[in-house]
């Protein structure tokens, strides 16, 4: 009989120990799983450099969208003001029309930018890369040897020459770019540095350069409006 309390104590101790083991195990398993999941996410996500570049780009894009919102608010207010006064402001619509014509490359434009001279022939992909990085730097209009280029202008190599929207362009090349020269310069420098191993490249900043080449829009034959 005197053994009974001792046995009970032993049983209680065992129970406590087992519970503690369970607790510790559970805790460790959870930590283990959580840290594994975190590692998996890190891998599934990306290296710090990629993420940092992404943050930089998203910041820039969001600022752009804020500016777009401000411009749209202003446009809407202008339209509403005329409508409230009982009329209609066709100038507000005209302004948007002009912007789109400039974007579509249908009207001559002028403004600050860069004049890039290339003393030799380059390949289609080299031009594409340069145009792409200049667009990323905010380029608003391009012309190459007088031919206007927008993003859907096909660029192709034909021997030593380039075909810009089907028209032959040969060296020396003069690429005019309108945009903020401060922003464009680093992009132009980068493109130049990869070309300069073969051809001579000059970059000049201009306070006002004129792009007179225009594009006539391609007629839509297969595409129809609507989803």
């Amino acid at each position: 009989m005197p053994n009974q309390p001792a046995e009970r104590t032993a049983r209680t101790q065992r129970l406590i120990v087992v519970s503690l083991i369970g607790l510790a195990l559970g805790f460790l398993v959870v930590i283990q799983l959580r840290s594994q999941a975190a590692v998996a996410r890190t891998l599934a996500a990306q290296d710090d450099t990629s993420v940092a570049l992404l943050i930089n780009d998203l910041n820039k894009a969001n600022n752009q969208l804020i500016q777009q919102s401000a411009a749209l608010s202003q446009q809407e207010a202008q339209l509403r003001q005329a409508l409230t006064a009982g009329g209609a402001d066709s100038q507000a619509i005209e302004k948007e029309l002009t912007t789109l014509r400039a974007v579509n490359g249908e009207i001559p434009v002028h403004g600050p930018g860069l004049q890039i001279g290339i003393q030799g022939s380059i390949m289609d992909f080299e031009l594409e890369d340069a145009l792409n990085s200049l667009r990323n730097a905010g380029a608003e209009a391009f012309s190459l040897n007088g031919y206007r280029i927008i993003s859907n202008t096909p660029v192709a190599s034909r021997g030593q020459n380039l075909l810009i929207g089907g028209r032959t362009v040969s060296a020396p090349l003069v690429l005019l770019v309108i945009g903020d020269p401060e922003q464009l310069q680093p992009a132009a420098d980068l493109s130049a540095s990869s070309l300069q191993t073969r051809v001579q490249v000059s970059i000049e900043r201009k306070t006002d350069l004129a792009i007179s080449g225009v594009i006539s829009p391609r007629p839509l034959i297969y595409a129809q409006l609507g989803k």
Binding site: L28, N62, R101, P154, K227
Partner: protein, 237 residues
């Protein structure tokens, strides 16, 4: 005795697990995980903000559109300008289109895990996308979209580490789907021409990088989801 056995077993297990835990911990002293987590959080927040801003832009665009429509109903001058504006919007990609065409599918291949091959040739690069889109324009495409993002006159592909961004911060991720409206035969002939996309096609063979296309009798191309800002290029005269 049993208590002792339990305790021993517990200690053994706990120590063993703790050891595993420490070994598997990838944390160098700089606490890399916490830093990564913070960076990723920033990306998530910025992408949420990006989506909200785009939704805001679309609401404002709808407001402007209704203002323009009402103006056109009131004045014939406004009506004329509005008709021209609609044409320009369609050209600039601010209207959804549909028609016959082609769908190009692209996905990463498999990493050869070869220390002598650090070319990353098995992944799809932004230049590949640029080349495909350029080839589609050259083959007569009338409208093109990549992963549902319309290619507009100002579109640029931006390379941010392993990410490709286009049109105001839209992140493209693999697999990539490039859709183009146009004559399906001439688009397919352009893509099938062995002189075109030669480097991409050879990487497709070497690394199993996916490159295929299918013709369609009808496909839809969405409208550009934002607006255009022109700050420097002023109309001449």
């Amino acid at each position: 005795m049993t208590v002792l056995a339990s305790v021993s077993l517990a200690t053994f297990l706990v120590t063993g697990l703790a050891a595993t835990q420490f070994r598997s911990q990838p944390l160098p002293p700089s606490n890399r995980l916490a830093r990564d987590e913070a960076l990723r959080k920033s990306v998530n927040q910025l992408e949420d903000q990006n989506r909200a801003l785009k939704a805001g832009v679309q609401t404002l665009q709808a407001g402007v559109k209704s203002g323009e429509e009402e103006s056109a109903r009131r004045s014939s001058a406004a009506q004329q300008v509005k008709a021209q504006l609609d044409d320009e919007k369609a050209i600039a990609g601010q209207a959804a289109l549909h028609g016959p065409g082609i769908t190009v599918l692209l996905h990463d291949g498999s990493d050869p895990n070869d220390p002598n091959d650090r070319s990353l040739g098995w992944t799809v690069h932004y230049q590949d996308m640029q080349d495909i889109v350029n080839l589609l324009w050259a083959s007569g495409a009338e409208a093109v979209a990549v992963n549902g993002q319309r290619i507009v006159p100002t579109t640029a592909f931006h390379y941010a580490g392993v990410n490709i961004l286009i049109n105001n911060g839209s992140r493209l991720s693999a697999p990539y789907t490039v859709t183009a409206v146009g004559d399906p035969s001439s688009l397919a002939n352009g893509l099938g021409n062995p002189d075109q996309l030669a480097e991409l096609k050879s990487r497709s063979r070497i690394y199993g990088l996916g490159l295929s296309w299918v013709r369609s009798t009808r496909l839809s191309i969405p409208a550009y989801d934002a607006t255009f800002l022109v700050k420097y290029a002023q109309p001449t005269g």
